[in-house]
């Protein structure tokens, strides 16, 4: 049987991916360039018995999805830079209360209202450091329409597996670009269910670490399961504590959920890197320019390759360290003033120079710019 195909925009594919992953609650507030996600969800969710709600603002939307997730729903919200800033307080709440949810953020020019219709990649640091305090962070940066669909499904899976908010951050080009997409059959891509409690309500504790670093999460209110949820540091039963040893252990466990599972979470693509002397490190739409440039460099006899970041957080530290030990230099094109470059610098530890192409004028980085920079690596 031939598979269903369509010609879709990245944002439309994101909504379809969410539906495949079993999303049944979407709380949103429209904002360019992410509005199409909310549009599709508002049409499709009621058809499958799900709920769509447009809240009074982005903060309300984030609060709505956290509440719905606690009550047992699989949830998503979509936004862009200014909305992501507003959501930060509650993203931190989602981290400490350990609530699975997906935040789909399309990167446009910033800071503040910036350039609503222009592409950017300047929210990648906000994905990790936007909300205060030590907390786990997972952020995926897809580069095509098909990959946006698949990465949204993966984001849902990771959020359930590690009981934590997960971000998907396409840039505006990927979000608004249209390509052919091939839909998987139901069951073809694994969908991770929420780990449900195995104990009766009277014995249930929402942060019971005897079940491991990721305790089961009951659907609040159903089957008699009720528990306390707070943004304060808490004990296993969910009630606040300031007891030093508990707070220390709990904070470390929450961060460890991601840190101890980096190999399970981090995905990347290596393109012509085996013999490469120049490694272009790119993500999102910029990686498409990079691939073009790497091919052009190869035609001119230059040994260039690309390391394409699919998972921005946790950052592929191990892989970049290994590359730094064997390449003559890195070329890092990105639509911000050097955010990924900073992470590469941290990992390269001076072993290989980093040549950045940093663009914040709302124009994409074109292949020629990258090719010229590749040639500068000596």
């Amino acid at each position: 049987m031939s598979k269903k195909v369509a010609f879709l925009q990245g944002n439309e594919a994101a909504a379809q991916g969410a539906l495949y992953a079993g999303c049944n609650f979407f709380g949103g507030y429209p904002i360019t360039p992410s509005t199409e996600v909310a549009e599709v969800m508002s049409i499709e969710l009621p058809k499958v018995g799900g709920k769509f709600i447009q809240m009074e603002d982005e903060i309300g939307a984030m609060a709505a999805i956290l509440g719905a997730a606690l009550a047992g729903s699989k949830v998503m919200t979509s936004t862009s830079g200014p909305g992501l800033s507003l959501k930060q307080e509650l993203i931190g709440y989602g981290c400490i209360a350990e609530i699975p949810c997906v935040i789909y953020n399309v990167m446009r020019g910033g800071p503040s209202t910036g350039m609503p219709t222009g592409p950017s990649q300047s929210d990648v640091m906000c994905a990790k450091w936007g909300t205060h305090g030590d907390h786990p962070a997972i952020c995926l940066t897809p580069a095509s329409v098909q990959e946006t669909y698949e990465e949204v499904i993966r984001a849902f899976n990771l959020s359930e597996k590690y009981r934590t908010p997960v971000m998907v951050m396409p840039d505006e080009i990927v979000a608004h670009m249209r390509e052919r997409i091939v839909f998987p059959e139901p069951g073809e891509i694994e969908v991770t269910p929420r780990k449900a409690p195995t104990v009766p309500p009277e014995q249930y504790k929402p942060y019971d670490t005897s079940f491991g670093d990721v305790p089961p999460l009951a659907a609040f209110g159903s089957g008699g399961y009720k528990f306390h949820v707070t943004g304060l540091n808490k004990m296993q039963d969910g009630f606040p504590t300031t007891k030093a040893e508990i707070v220390q252990a709990e904070e470390e466990r929450q961060v460890r959920k991601v840190d101890a599972n980096v190999d399970d979470i981090v995905q990347f693509e290596e393109y012509l890197l085996a013999d490469a002397e120049v490694a272009v490190v790119a993500y999102g739409s910029t990686s498409r320019s990079a691939r073009y440039a790497v091919n052009a460099a190869r035609e001119q006899g230059i040994k260039a390759g690309m390391f394409r970041i699919k998972t921005f957080w946790p950052f592929p530290d191990k892989q970049i360290k290994a590359l730094a030990a064997r390449v003559k230099g890195f070329v890092v094109p990105e639509m911000n003033l050097g955010m990924c470059a900073l992470e590469i610098e941290r990992n390269a530890q001076g072993k290989a120079p980093i040549l950045g192409i940093f663009r914040v004028d709302g124009e994409p980085i074109n292949p020629d710019q990258i090719l010229e920079k590749i040639k500068e690596v000596k």
Binding site: A6, F7, I173, M177, R178, R180, R288, R291
Partner: protein, 182 residues
């Protein structure tokens, strides 16, 4: 590897993004090629500069934007001035002859006919000017067959307007063929 680059440019509200989407859909869904459509537009809903770019290829497409344009549609003088600079030698420029009075110079073939007027007076509705333009671009570029492009048009427009769009597409296709020969 073949890489063919088209740009539909003009003002917001002229339906050029839709025209680009249908061209890419024709190539990628009906013609069996690969295609990517992208766009850029200002914050205005209508009137600001707008462009829609389509890359068509036999193989995977990496960079989704135009590097050197093979075919350009310009529906305003501003668009013709702004975007003809990276039109390839031997490429094709399609303009609305009522709106673009100063034809930009260059080593490319210029085809002109009154696109909006054709939609308004010959098809009967100005709103389908983008489909007239699309028909013309299909004829001039040869990247997708007339049949496949028509299928893409009909699968993209509301059912109540199938005949109107079909007529607009055919008229654009034929006017461009005639204008190119002239």
């Amino acid at each position: 590897m073949s890489r063919y680059e088209l740009r539909f440019s003009g003002a917001g509200g002229q339906g050029l993004i839709t025209a680009g989407i249908i061209m890419a859909k024709a190539a990628s869904i009906y013609e069996g090629k690969q295609a990517v459509q992208s766009q850029s537009y200002g914050p205005e809903a209508r009137g600001g500069a707008s462009k829609s770019e389509v890359i068509i290829s036999d193989g995977p497409i990496d960079y989704p934007k135009v590097t050197q344009c093979d075919a350009l549609l310009a529906m305003t003088q501003e668009a013709a001035n702004k975007y003809s600079h990276d039109l390839k030698e031997g490429g094709v420029l399609l303009i609305d002859s009522d709106l673009v009075k100063n034809v930009p110079p260059g080593n490319f073939k210029t085809v002109a006919f009154p696109i909006i007027n054709t939609a308004k007076n010959d098809v009967g509705r100005e709103i389908v000017a983008n489909i007239v333009a699309l028909g013309a671009m299909v004829a001039l570029t040869g990247q997708v067959s007339r049949e496949n492009a028509e299928k893409a048009v009909l699968s993209s427009v509301p059912e109540a307007f199938l005949e109107l769009n079909k007529k607009a597409f055919s008229m654009g296709y034929e006017r461009a063929e005639a204008a190119a020969k002239a």
